[in-house]
């Protein structure tokens, strides 16, 4: 009788731990989705601003072409190629900012200051996303998550490689 109870208790404890782990992983997946949605939204906004800058009188035809191309590439890139495309856009934007100097008009100055505010936010968003992806991957490496397939059919989150000076 006593051993039966003990076994039952251990089984119960184990099931509880499994359920707890599943919830934990579910939350982590949720966190990755959130941080990606946030980063993606900010990057989309940046591409939109880049297109607006390309259309403005600030940009000469050559940089306008370069910027438009980079912005479309960044928008259409698949997730695996996304960081590379975004780095390209960063480069194009940096070129434009270097050329500018101080002869921009108020409307364009507003665009530029919005852009620099956005860049600061993107840096933070990247840090948040990288952190959530890393923790999720670390947890999914653990044995219990593999044996009991607690991740279900959720895809393994992709690491988003950003070079430090990319933005």
């Amino acid at each position: 009788m006593k051993t039966t109870l003990t076994v039952l208790f251990v089984v119960f404890l184990f099931l509880w731990y499994l359920s707890f782990s599943a919830t934990r992983l579910d939350r982590l997946h949720h966190r990755v989705e959130t941080s990606w949605a946030n980063l993606d939204g900010l990057l989309q906004r940046r591409a939109a601003i880049a297109l607006e800058l390309a259309r403005s009188e600030l940009a000469d035809p050559a940089s306008s072409l370069l910027l438009t191309d980079a912005a479309y590439q960044a928008r259409d890139a698949s997730i695996a190629l996304r960081s590379q495309a975004e780095s390209g856009l960063s480069g194009a934007l940096r070129l434009l900012q270097v050329d500018l100097g101080s002869d921009a008009r108020p409307a364009e100055m507003a665009l530029l200051s919005e852009l620099s505010e956005l860049s600061a936010k993107i840096r933070v968003a990247i840090a948040l996303h990288v952190d959530s992806v890393t923790s999720t991957r670390v947890v999914r490496q653990k044995l219990i998550f593999k044996i009991f397939r607690l991740a279900g059919r959720a895809p393994l989150p992709v690491t988003y490689e950003f070079e430090d000076d990319a933005i």
Partner: protein
């Protein structure tokens, strides 16, 4: 702030509200800033005296004093506190929770356990590697990883976090109301060849002893030097231990009001921070710089980064009284350099103004809230149904 939408923000303070401390002051200022910008804020905290609380503060019960990290921490946990935390979360209907020090055994940890949804955690403490945290790391990990974003108040706090819990954080400094300190008026009674010190001087890590050891050397070169010590504590012990000839060089002012503090910092020739360690941020240095004081500080990591490696104030080797004396003597004899350091410091202090700091914090709030609809109690039962569902699928 750019976002005009009014948010319902719940902030959890781990330490007793009535006890003086950097974390409590930070939370008070942040809450008042957010309220002034149109947000609804509720702060849950342990409190010894429930009647003396501001309207936005909710008490979770009386704090318990436990020894922690070399000091006495007034924290709160236990089943009754946990029930109060759950009640506060379920009734608060918050858009976001901001938990301070979620890695120490107190209310923030309980709240992190009980809630799910957008949560931001701020880590204040900086300390050397602690075995205790290693031991409970595996238990803390699943709780801490629920946070959507982590903030560290300094590089030192960030390193502590990465070393103990293997997670990264964004560095956003603590805030000060820089204007209030810039508006300080120099008082003749505190001016002249004066060295200022503010803090709980009885605590050895605040380093008043280092300053007092330097005093005989300084007196030899600058006979009219005066040391002004502000802050709560019993000065008897220090006075009796001192050389009688030096006793009249030092004045204990007791605790100063906020206004007097600004005036005090604007008056003294040099503000000295001889802390020997255990400091994560050093908000007092930011305040001293904002008030236009020339700052001399020990070269502990937090002060190093605060003073830009000596660009915004002078640094001396930690616990080295002779070096401190030499630095002070040099600066008191060089009005121009003292003025330059003070001006550079005042410029640097703008970085810590609430207008800048709160904007950064708010931007993290926005990121944590993307695509989520508010904070609710964690439903640990949800996974049961998930498990059952999967079994049905495989069948």
């Amino acid at each position: 702030m750019t976002n005009l939408k009014s948010l319902r923000i719940g902030i959890v303070c781990p330490y007793g509200w009535d006890a003086p401390g950097g974390v409590q002051a930070h939370i008070r200022d942040l809450a008042e800033y957010l309220i002034a910008h149109g947000h609804m804020v509720s702060v849950l905290t342990p409190a010894a005296d429930e009647d003396a609380l501001p309207s936005y503060v909710v008490s979770a019960g009386k704090p318990i004093a436990i020894p922690y990290n070399g000091a006495v921490a007034r924290v709160l946990f236990g089943p009754i506190a946990f029930a109060r935390v759950r009640q506060w979360i379920s009734q608060g209907n918050f858009d976001l929770l901001h938990l301070h020090e979620p890695a120490i055994p107190s209310l923030s940890l309980l709240a992190c356990w009980a809630a799910e949804g957008p949560m931001v955690g701020t880590f204040h403490a900086a300390s050397k590697k602690q075995k205790a945290i290693y031991a409970i790391g595996p238990i803390l990990e699943p709780v801490i990883e629920k946070l959507s974003a982590r903030i560290a108040v300094s590089e030192a706090a960030r390193l502590t976090l990465t070393a103990h819990l293997e997670t990264d954080a964004i560095v956003i400094p603590n805030g000060i109301y820089a204007d209030r300190f810039t508006a300080g008026v120099a008082q003749p009674k505190w001016s002249g060849n004066t060295l200022g010190f503010i803090g709980r001087f009885e605590e050895p890590r605040k380093g008043l002893a280092v300053l007092l050891d330097a005093l005989p050397l300084i007196t030899r070169v600058i006979p009219d030097i005066r040391v002004l010590v502000a802050g709560p504590g019993d000065s008897e012990e220090f006075v009796t231990k001192m050389d009688p000839e030096l006793r009249n060089r030092i004045t204990f002012l007791g605790r100063l009001s906020e206004e007097d503090k600004a005036n005090f910092l604007s008056s003294v020739s040099i503000y000295v921070a001889p802390n020997t360690g255990g400091e994560s941020f050093g908000i007092i240095l930011a305040e001293a710089m904002a008030a236009g004081a020339c700052v001399v500080a020990s070269d502990i990591p937090a002060f190093n980064s605060m003073l830009g490696d000596g660009e915004f104030g002078s640094l001396f080797p930690c616990e080295n009284s002779t070096a401190l004396a030499r630095t002070v003597i040099e600066l008191l004899g060089d009005d121009e350099r003292r003025g330059l350091l003070a001006a550079a410091g005042q410029q640097n202090a703008k970085r810590f103004d609430w207008d800048t700091v709160a904007k950064q914090i708010f931007s993290v709030y926005e990121m944590a809230m993307v695509g989520r609809d508010g904070v609710r109690l964690a439903s640990e039962t949800r996974s049961w149904s998930r498990l059952l569902n999967r079994e049905e699928e495989t069948r």
